[in-house]
Subunit: 377 residues, 2 copies
């Protein structure tokens, strides 16, 4: 493992994607740095080791549960508005990691959010959800040990949202989410219901719960922790814990992947599209080959480097070599893009092969869920 | 039937409770006067004949359905925060009237509103609801032809609320309900779901629906009609119709009965309490007996007169006689209170006798509902 503490120096191959002002997150929002905990994690994940998970809230509680072999839960989810991409892939890997560490696992298809925020109909998001679940299974999620559900079908989540609405002032909502339409506020309450669902009696009652998310999701976490406190007397909720990963850049170099800007690819784009997107990507390269050979590239701002760092080069020596070869001008963007395209397409091909076998199972899981809802409250 | 068109003259025994500025309601809010329709109603209700129902929206649609023997629905409800009083009694009578005119009947126990608005727990409102339903049955509602439900148990209503949330801006909510907490906005969406529930496919699809309410509930009606229009393409909703009754004054002479001011009695207060409340009521009487004998009383501002007018004196000649006896100083407040107490206690005694027999049935209806929910979506 390479050192991760010298984030400020240039020679940190894991320091890419420094999009957030971390000091501010730590100080103003009370997110704690993850690094001091790293040595206490029995079997740290790839993202923890690489410093891609950089912050947390109350992760000690989860560590305790792991150490003492006590019950804990992991919950995350996806907004079913489109196919898996490298961003959603991160959350998927995180939830699978915690499942493998023994967590009771919950995966939420946030179809109410997809509707309220993106106006995706429930009919459409249902089809997308089947696809998303097949991705998850192909990535290694164990469906036998996971509660996968759609928000729109989970009465308990909707009921929690209704219950949570009472003490929430308009001022609170505006402070967190800005002036938004009522449906969006409602979907925020629903999401709080998701996060606290694992602690209901139906699932064995209060327990430590880890929510692995991108740092942009922290407002939801704070909002939910506040509600957990407000309703402690009724439900005995334990404040949910969270880990925060860095966000992947868009291929245009902008700080975030965005559907509107089409600055990313999905795992189900054609090989040609993927290759083309990466080929056309912004990089940390210089204006001319000569200049780059002299000055070296800037991997810290390069989305192509980030793709390798976050997903496709597991070996630390190898990524370090690439980093240095770029910095010293030995590895040029054209060559690195070519290598990266190969790596991505290889993964994508294998992933799709696996996924194909899980499509029926995914359909069955979402329908089973539906049938289950029909026969019980 | 006595004439009801001369509202502005003093000599209108049915003109009491002129609390609202009706001209303004007609002009600014688009409520139509009910009086011009009266002659077209085949079997007008007591409240229609007395001008207590004074306004409507789209009531023609209901009249058409009645005339053509086409399907239509009536929906109203109660917020289960306490026992029946003379105000809730009005709505109950109205819904029973429309049921007798052939309407498919819906009665909503607004327990989510009771929670969001009044912080009444669902456990508590469940107990209150059983009591309220027994009142309804005692008053003559036919349970076999009525769908009685609690909001908290009616998934379709909650789902409609979620669907309706998307196009509703914060500005709209503030304009209608003011700056309120999120739970209250949510309960407004739920109420819109209630009002449009009868038009879902599960209940036979779109149909004219009459919502008989107090005029203070018009904002809900406007809000819901707007949503019905917005979601017309998806659900083919027909804009719901409404009738508006005047509000009963509080016994302290204030324009509305209010729990906080304890200015009313319930049907389940002890005879002593009821007698005491009426005895202590504000009236339209004068400072001294002598003065009243000379000048006469003012029934237009008298809650005791209103109790008789709205509920306990069905005979038009009789109420007209009381009105004139008051105006001319022949009937003094003490005597009139005594008569009124007798009338109220007689009704209450008989009502409770009937109600007792319906308590088990009421329990069964609310539990049946619960069981039904468990076995279907």
């Amino acid at each position: 493992m390479l050192p991760n503490s010298n984030k400020k120096t240039v020679l940190d191959p894991f320091g890419a994607s420094e999009v957030a002002d971390y000091e501010r997150l730590y100080k103003e929002f009370g997110i704690d740095p993850f690094e001091p905990l790293l040595s206490k994690v029995p079997n740290p994940s790839f993202y923890m080791r690489r410093g891609i998970i950089f912050g947390h809230r109350d992760f000690n509680r989860i560590l305790n549960a792991i150490h003492k072999h006590e019950e804990f839960a992991v919950l995350s989810g996806i907004k079913p508005t489109g196919e898996f991409h490298l961003g959603t892939l991160m959350t998927a890997k995180e939830i699978i990691y915690f499942q493998q560490q023994g967590a009771q696992t919950f995966y939420c298809i946030a179809d109410i959010e997809a509707y309220e925020d993106n106006n995706v109909s429930f009919e459409k998001s249902e089809r997308i959800a089947v696809d998303n679940v097949a991705d998850l299974l192909a990535l290694g999620l164990d469906p036998k040990r996971t509660y996968i559900y759609r928000q729109s079908e989970e009465i308990r989540v909707k009921d929690l949202a209704i219950i949570f609405g009472r003490p929430v002032t308009l001022a609170t909502m505006k402070a967190i989410y800005g002036e938004r339409h009522i449906g969006l506020y409602l979907s925020a309450l629903i999401q709080a219901g998701d996060i606290l669902l694992p602690q209901l009696e139906d699932f064995g009652g209060p327990k430590p719960t880890i929510i692995p998310v991108g740092v942009d999701q922290d407002p939801h976490i704070r909002f939910t922790r506040d509600l957990a406190q407000k309703f402690h007397r009724k439900y005995k909720f334990i404040l949910p814990s969270s880990t925060y990963h860095k966000l992947m850049k868009g291929l245009d170099g902008s700080p975030k992947m965005s559907k509107r800007q089409m600055n990313y690819f999905t795992l189900h784009d054609s090989p040609e599209t993927i290759a083309k997107r990466i080929s056309n990507s912004f990089t940390g390269g210089r204006a001319t080959v000569k200049e780059q050979q002299e000055l070296g590239g800037i991997p810290e701002i390069c989305p192509v480097y980030e793709i390798c760092l976050f997903h496709f080069i597991k070996d630390n020596d190898k990524i370090t070599r690439i980093y240095h070869d770029c910095k010293t001008g030995r590895l040029l963007c054209g060559e690195h893009k070519k290598q990266t395209i190969e790596r991505v397409l290889e993964f994508v091909k294998e992933h799709r092969r696996k996924k194909k076998k899980f499509m029926d199972k995914a359909q069955e899981i979402l329908q089973l869920k539906y049938e289950r809802e029909k026969t019980k409250k």
